[in-house]
Each structure stands twice: as C-alpha cells, then as structure tokens.
C-alpha cells in the first residue's frame, strides 16, 4: 500500500515539456498522466479543441501533430516533447480567417460548432496533402469526425469550396 501510494505521488509530480504550439515555442508543466487534449485545454488555455468522448471515438479533439491529424485525447502530453502541434486557434492569420474557416462560416458548415475545430483540422491535413480532393475523398477523410447537426452536406461543400479558394490563391 505504501509503495503504491509512493508510486502514485511520483505519477502526480509535474513534468516539464517544450513544444511548438501554433508556431510558438511554449514550455508547460503538467502531471504526467494528462493527455495532449487536457494539456492544451487546461494548461495552455487553448479551449478551442473539444472533449467529445475521451476514447478516440468522435473526432472532436483532432489536432495536427507534426502536420498529421491526431486525436488529442489518445496522445499523452508527454509524447509531445519537441513536436509541433496545430490547433484551431492557429488557423486564422490575425483577423483573416483561413479559407476553410471562411467557407465553413459562409456555407453553414458550423451549426452548434462543437465538432467544428476537429473537422477543420482534419480538413486542413487533407488539403495540405491533396489540394483537389474528390467529394468521395473528402467524405472519407472526415469519416472519423462525427457531427450530429449538419448531416455533413454543408461540411463537405465547405471543404470543396475552401480547396477551390486555396488553389486559386496558390
């Protein structure tokens, strides 16, 4: 019992980590059991990334880790030493919305807005890899992000519109 309690105390001792979040170098201290989702929300004040299940089932917490879409509820904060994390807060450039954000806003892709951050980050990863995805590819890419409001139609349309806007800009 004493040994177990001792181990527990050790587990609670904060760890210190350096990583890049939305292009900014940050240093953060947190208990080692915390997921990246908890570290982002509770220790870095980035509440844009959402809890939906904490089990990797809903996609609401999707962020980009070194450019790859990851479910932040399944990644330990500890695993992110030295890595680069992008969240919804990093999408807009100053007051200018990212083309995905603008398309989501204009085309009704965000209703309650709760799945939106995860949806945006997943879509960003797709468009970085495939600037001109087919509708089918878009549907595949976001199939791990659940939305209960939209029936997905306006989300898919917004991603298509953003892809067009980004190609024209490029």
């Amino acid at each position: 019992m004493g040994a177990a309690r001792g181990r527990e105390a050790l587990l609670r001792r904060n760890v210190q980590l350096r990583l890049h979040v939305n292009g900014e170098a940050v240093e953060v201290s947190f208990p080692p059991y915390k997921t990246l989702l908890e570290v982002l929300r509770e220790d870095l004040g980035l509440t844009g990334t959402k809890h939906g299940c904490e089990l990797g089932e809903c996609g609401a917490c999707a962020v980009l880790v070194d450019g790859e879409p990851q479910l932040a509820c399944l990644v330990l904060g500890l695993e992110c030493e030295g890595r680069s994390v992008e969240t919804v807060e990093g999408l807009a450039q100053g007051g200018t919305l990212h083309p995905l954000q603008a398309a989501f806003a204009d085309l009704g892709a965000a209703q309650c807005g709760y799945c939106t951050p995860g949806m945006l980050m997943t879509a960003k990863a797709l468009l970085e890899r495939e600037p001109a995805p087919s509708r089918e590819r878009i549907r595949e890419a976001i199939s791990g992000n659940l939305c209960r409001c939209t029936g997905y139609a306006q989300i898919v349309e917004a991603i298509e519109a953003a892809a067009r806007a980004m190609r024209e800009r490029a």
Partner: protein, 807 residues
C-alpha cells in the same frame, strides 16, 4: 426585405470556426474545484447505507455529498417531480447518481469515489413495458395510477367505433419504434459559483435556463432571485439538455457550501445514462377508409417505455397521440396512451418529441392502404391533406399549410411517377409526409405570463443590444434574433449585440424546445424592434421635416421614403431619439393564442402554427446481405418564410440525417447480465463506438426544397424547421424498402438482419413482414369524450370519463 430570406453567414459563425465560442466545459474560474458523481451499479435497489468517511478523509477532497443533502425533489413537469439530485432510499437505473465528491482535481475525485462504500439490497428489475404491466410490485415509484404505470391518457373525438364500422376497409397494424439517444457531441458540463450575498450562478449546457432556474431554486430552497442560470451555447442539444439534471443541482449546492466555484463535466458513459432520449413506443393503429381513400376514423393506442423517472413523460405521452390529426383530414380520432416505468435511463424529449413514432406508424399504414386501394401513395395523400384555416377533430387550429405543395415538389423532383413500382427488383422509392408544431401553446407549468420577452437598448454610439432568454443550441436562435431586429431597424445583423440565455440579465424565454424559438422569440423581437423604430422614426422625422410614417430604415440609413438624399446615418437618428426621449429601451413579449379546445388536456398540441414536410427516399437493397443503401433523399419543407436559407437548409438536412439514423441503425439498447454476474439490466453499449450513428460516408445526397407558405401568426410568416423534417424520413425509408423488395419492416431500426429474415419469409411464401405481433392488454380508462368541431359542441367534454383518463 434586406435581411430576411437572404443567405448569410450566421452571426455566431466567426466565433464557432475560430474556436472562440465558449461552451460550458471551456469555462474556468479562480479557486475552482471539481466534482464527480458516484453512480449506481444496480438497475433497482434499496440503499441500506452509504459510508463516505474514507473518501472525505482523502487529501484534496473538499466535500462529499449524498442524498441526505437534498431533501427536495425536482422534475421538469409539475406532475412528475420524482427525482432527487442524489438518490434517497433507492436507486432506479444503472447510472442513477448516489453520491458526489468535490475535490481539487478530477483525478482526486475519482480516487475518492472508489473509497465510498454503499450497501445495496437489490430489488427485482423491471426491464420492459410488458414486465412493468405484468409486475405491479415492486413499484419503481410510489405514485402513478397503479403498479408501474406512470401515466394513462384516453381521448375520443367523435364515435370512432361507429366511424370504423361504416368504413369500406379497416386496417389494423402494430408498429414498434425503438428508443434512441441524442448523442450531442458536447457532453453535459456545468460550473457553479457563489454570487452576491448568498446567491449562486450556474453556467451550464442547458437548452432551458428558465425551467432550470425554477427547479434549482426549489431544490436549493432559495428565493429564485438568488439563483442565476446562464445557458452557455450548447454543443448540440436535440432535447438532451432540456431536463434539469442532477449534476447541475449538485455543483450549485457544493459551490454554496464551499464558497468557491465547482465544475463538473460528464463523460460519455454518463451522458448515455442521463439520456432523456426517444421513448421506445409500441403502437396499434386501426384506421377506417372509404374506397376512394378518405379516412373515416383512427384509433391509436400507444405504450411508452419511460425508463426510471418522469422527465417530460406526461407530455411525451400526449404527443404520441395529439398531433396525429394535423396532417390529414380525419373526421374522428381516438387515442389511448400509457407510459410505464422501467429500470432504465429515463426517456424524455428528442427532436420531434413523441411524434416520430406514431408518424412512422401512420405513414407506413397509409402506404399499405394505398396499395390495397390501388392508389398512388402521393395521390392518396394529396386527396386527404389537411386544409388551411381549419380545425382538427381534437380542436387544433391549423393556419397555413404547404403540405400539398411539398408533396407535389418531391414527386416532381424525385421522378416519383417514373420510379414508384417501376424500378428493377432491389431498388425502390417510398414517400411519407408529416406536420409539426411551431412551439407548444402552453408552458410546462401553468401561468398566464409571456412565453418570450425581448428587450432592446440603443444609444448614441449607434449600437443596438438585444436581450432575450432564448438559448443557442446550434439551431441559429441568436441569428434569428439578430436578423429580425436588424430587418426592422434597417441595420446589419452583425450590428446587433446579443445577450441571451441568462436568467440574471435577460427577459424570460421558455427555452429551446418544441420548435418554439423562431415564432415566439421572433414575435417578441419584432414587437420590441417596432417599438424602438417608432421612437427613432419620430425623432428623425422632426429633423427631416416629414411625418414619422414617411421615415424609412434600410442599409444603416434613416431616410425619407422615396427620397434617399434626405437621409442620415442610423447612428445619428438614434442620437436624436436619445436626446428627445432619454435613454432608449424597448420591450416586446409574446403569448400564443388560446387553444380552441376546452376539455381537460386540451393544452397539449395547440401551437401558433404548424410546419409541413414531404419526403421521398430511394433505396437499394442487397438481397444477399440485406444491406440497405440510400442513394438519395428528396425533402420539401413548408417553413412559412425562410429567415436565413443557409441555416434553414442545414436544419432540414440535419433533420433528415437524424431521421435516417433512427430508421437504419440507432438504438439505446439494454441487456441482462448473466445471473452469476448479478442479473442486472445494463446498457448494452454506452459508448459512441458501439452506439452506431451515421458518418459522412453513410449520408446520402439530400435535395432540399423550401416551400414558403407564410403564416399570419409567425414573424414575417416564418415557421419552424428544426424538428418537422425528421418525421417523414423513417416511414419513407420503410415504404421504399417495400417498393424495392416487397417486404414490410414494421419496426425501427430497419437493420439488414430484419430485411434478410423478411426476405426468407417471402421466399417461403409466408407473410413477408417483420414487426411486433400483438399489442398487450393495457388498462386504459374510459376516455374523455369530445365531439369534433363538425359534430356540434363547443370544444368541451360531452360525456363523463374516468378520472384516470387524464392523469
């Protein structure tokens, strides 16, 4: 019009796409403590003892609460206040909250929960309506008409047996609609903090801050003026955040006791237990028709599996009956409804509240009727569609209806006439219709007060602020408020600052339920804006040297109508008005029209207006696997007037999605553990992975047609769009499957295994139908008898009924 009807980015869009919108779970306050609940592992048990001493002694634990801390019960409906924040004496479902720990962090809470010892004495579990009817003892609750029956309702509008006797055909069917859950992606969260002298503020993911406010004051035994509820934007509601919830009461109590903020976030498993979702409903429908397809009478019986508590149950029970006559001309109507208690998470309101189930039954039965009579199902429905400006058999007042136009639209767009009964084997189309209310005509508790209030402030800066208790749950409540105020004042929706859903700051609005917000908040907003406009116009008229009625408001300018050069900025006009009248404020409030019916129970069903929908679903059924694919759905919805087409289409497609989900896969299902593991009734699948819902890959193309049949009771004629379009989808799917492979699946969800079994029956030459075989004997009382409007009477009762008919 400059705003209404124009496609726009919604006013809260930028916050939502930048992650700036703050949901309840995103809030944090200095000195905030955390809370978690201990939940019952038993479906039905007596609590013999709770020992919290070890938990309370843990380092970092600030408070442990049990049922003793909460002597007062609560419940959304005055007639069913049967819940306690923490169980007292017994638990009624797996997940029923028993104790709460408040500690420095969630981890410490979890450790402390494990140290709480509860001694239970398990009681027999009531698992189903059949068991509830057959097992009066033990009673899950000690109220209700008898045994484990929660509510009985019986109404007859004209002699239905006589109507069936003179029909050319009588159709009798039994249908079953499985329960399912809201599955909002946001899990419920609440943060309470002490406020002022002995008061408390609760920030919560609630759809109904006003009702929560009342229940919280009741449970905390505080004057309501000491309690403030702030509804944060909901990350999806769908009815799942309508009930006041245990955890909201617990953190409010804890915050007052500790003098510091306390926060709780439910996890996904807990949300499945809190539930309040779609009631499983078994129904029997007997319908008399003439040979040309006119209805002579309908006798509907329903049996609802209510789960462990009352919730909205009394209203849900009514809704399985009362809206049935709003879609088609029906001279006589009888409904008998019964809700039973079972040891499962309580059922309550989910999108469509109590009406998708009978709608499924009636629309599938109409498909059978059309086939028997050799009529096209669309033609049959056009023939009997309810007429505008009419009364139904149960005295509901229908205003505008675009039902016939909706049917014509989906028939034409889908190529119905070229497809119905003409597609190759394995492919088919099905059609169904529906109606839905635009707001409940009566509040949940009896009062003569307005249902919605809006207050506007304007000042010399040119800013306009709208205050309203309405709640943004994703449906666009904020956008409708801004749009209506902006339209009247000739400014942009983005120029209206919004303060909503805060019982400490905003006029009362009853909440985001029953599709009431656009009509009720909208009418209140319209009145307030007209009042403010009149003041500004009076001041501007003086300056412009014309009569006030000649002053026009548009594009941020106030001008002489027809003379755009004689104009000033809106801001200048407000300044003139402030100088002339002093501080500028205006209010508007709205109360729905009185119901036409006068009988006891006539208050459920009336609405200022009804929306209408028609839907065609196309399916492909794989005969080898039973797999159902849906290539396309066409839906037309009579919305009265479109406020913002971007949002309106989103509501329609979202409703189609949810209807299709319920039709094809979603079920809140339970199983018994083996006897050696306690024999308990447990949720089969309290996780998103196992509770199957459609992904982006499962959604078909949806073609949306918005039909505008403005209703005089509605602001700019605008009716509801958030719930109605769900209703026709499940029956249209079932009818399409029949068209495709000739089998009838009379129960939801329609899964491949059921299709396969039906196909096997068909191959064996048996009745190719899957569905409930019988309807049990339910002790319905002698009904309340009310003559329909065309048979004399004044909307009151004409015969004596059993007192139990309206409990």
């Amino acid at each position: 019009m400059n705003v209404i009807g124009k496609p726009r980015r919604r006013v809260d869009a930028r916050s939502k796409v930048t992650g700036r919108t703050r949901f309840a779970d995103d809030l944090a306050l200095p000195r905030m403590a955390h809370c978690r609940l201990l939940r019952s592992p038993h479906p039905h048990a007596e609590i013999l003892a709770v020992d919290v001493s070890r938990a309370a002694a843990l380092s970092g634990v600030y408070l442990v609460l049990t049922g003793e801390a909460f002597p007062v019960s609560f419940g959304i409906m005055p007639v069913s206040q049967d819940e306690y924040p923490l169980a007292r004496g017994k638990v009624r479902y797996v997940g029923d909250p028993v104790a709460a720990v408040v500690a420095r962090d969630e981890q410490t809470c979890a450790e402390a929960l494990a140290e709480i010892e509860v001694k239970y004495r398990p009681l027999a579990t009531i698992a189903s309506p059949a068991e509830a009817l057959a097992t009066p003892e033990p009673r899950i609750h000690d109220y209700g008409p008898q045994g484990n029956i929660h509510r009985l309702q019986a109404y007859e509008f004209g002699d239905v047996e006589e109507a069936l006797a003179r029909a050319d055909h009588v159709f009798e069917d039994v249908f079953f609609y499985e329960g399912n859950t809201h599955l909002a992606i946001e899990q419920h969260a609440a943060l309470a903090a002490p406020e002022g002298e002995g008061g408390v503020v609760l920030y919560s993911s609630t759809q109904n801050p006003h009702y929560l406010h009342r229940q919280l004051a009741r449970v905390l035994q505080l004057p309501a003026s000491k309690v403030r509820v702030v509804a944060m934007p909901n990350g999806g509601g769908f009815g799942g955040k309508c009930d006041p919830a245990n955890h909201e009461m617990v953190v409010a109590k804890a915050a007052l006791a500790l003098g510091r903020p306390v926060k709780i976030c439910l996890n996904r498993e807990e949300v499945f237990y809190l539930h309040r979702g779609r009631h499983p409903v078994l129904m029997r429908l007997r319908t008399g028709v003439t040979k040309d397809g006119r209805l002579t009478g309908v006798h509907l019986q329903t049996l609802l599996d209510g789960g462990a508590y009352g919730s909205h149950g009394p209203a849900s029970t009514f809704y399985t009956g009362v809206l049935t006559p709003t879609t088609y001309e029906l001279p006589r109507f009888k409904f008998e409804a019964c809700r039973v208690f079972t040891n499962k998470p309580p059922c309550g309101p989910k999108r469509g509240h109590g009406t998708p189930q009978p709608r499924f039954g009636q629309e599938v039965q109409l498909d059978k009727i059309a086939e028997k009579l050799g009529l096209d199902p669309a033609e049959l429905r056009l023939r009997i569609a309810v007429k505008p400006d009419s009364l139904t058999a149960n005295w509901l007042r229908i205003g505008s209806t675009g039902l016939a136009e909706c049917i014509r639209q989906v028939v034409e767009r889908s190529g119905w006439k070229e497809k119905f009964r003409k597609l190759p084997e394995g492919r088919g189309v099905g059609l169904a219709c529906s109606a839905y209310m635009c707001g409940a005509g009566l509040p949940i508790y009896w009062n003569k007060l307005p249902h919605s209030g809006v207050q506007l402030l304007a000042d010399r800066s040119g800013q306009v602020t709208a205050f309203c208790g309405a709640t943004e749950v994703g449906q666009g409540s904020d956008d409708v408020l801004a749009a209506i105020v902006a339209e009247v004042l000739g400014i942009a929706p983005d120029d209206v600052r919004l303060v909503t859903g805060d019982t400490g700051l905003t006029p009362v609005d009853l909440g985001s339920y029953s599709s009431r917000v656009t009509v009720m908040m909208g009418n209140a907003a319209l009145r307030a804006a007209e009042q403010l406009k009149a003041r500004i116009a009076a001041a501007a008229a003086e300056e412009l040297g014309v009569a006030p009625h000649r002053v026009a408001f548009a594009n941020g300018r106030v001008s002489v109508a027809g003379e755009p050069s004689k104009a000033m900025a809106f801001r200048e006009a407000v300044e003139l008005a402030e100088a002339r009248f002093g501080t500028l404020a205006a209010t508007g409030s709205y109360t729905p029209p009185k119901p036409a019916g006068k009988y006891k129970g006539a208050g459920v069903g009336p609405s200022p207006a009804y929306s209408y929908s028609a839907c065609v679903v196309e399916v492909e059924v794989d005969r080898a696997s039973g797999w159902i694919s849906v290539p396309k759905i066409w839906i037309a919805h009579d919305i009265g007037r479109v406020v913002n087409p971007v949002l309106a289409r989103g509501q329609v497609v979202g409703s189609v999605y949810m209807g299709l989900a319920e039709a094809l896969m979603e079920e809140q299902a339970f199983r018994r553990l083996p006897p050696k593991l306690s024999d308990a009734l447990v949720h089969r699948i309290p996780s998103i992975l196992e509770y199957k819902s459609p992904t982006s890959l499962d959604m078909p193309e949806v073609e949306t047609i918005l039909v505008e049949e403005p209703d005089p009771n509605c602001p700019f004629g605008a009716k509801e769009v958030g719930q109605g379009p769900l209703l026709p989808v499940p029956p249209a799917l079932a009818n399409a499957i029949y068209d495709a492979v000739g089998v009838r699946i009379d129960e939801l969800p329609i899964t491949p295994d059921k299709v396969l079994r039906a196909l096997e029956l068909k191959a064996q030459g048996k009745n190719p139908r899957i569905g409930p075989e019988a309807f049990p004997a339910v002790p319905y009382p002698k009904p309340v008898f009310v003559p329909p409007p065309w048979e004399g009477g004044d909307g009151g009762e004409a015969k004596r009924h059993d007192a139990a008919a309206v409990v």
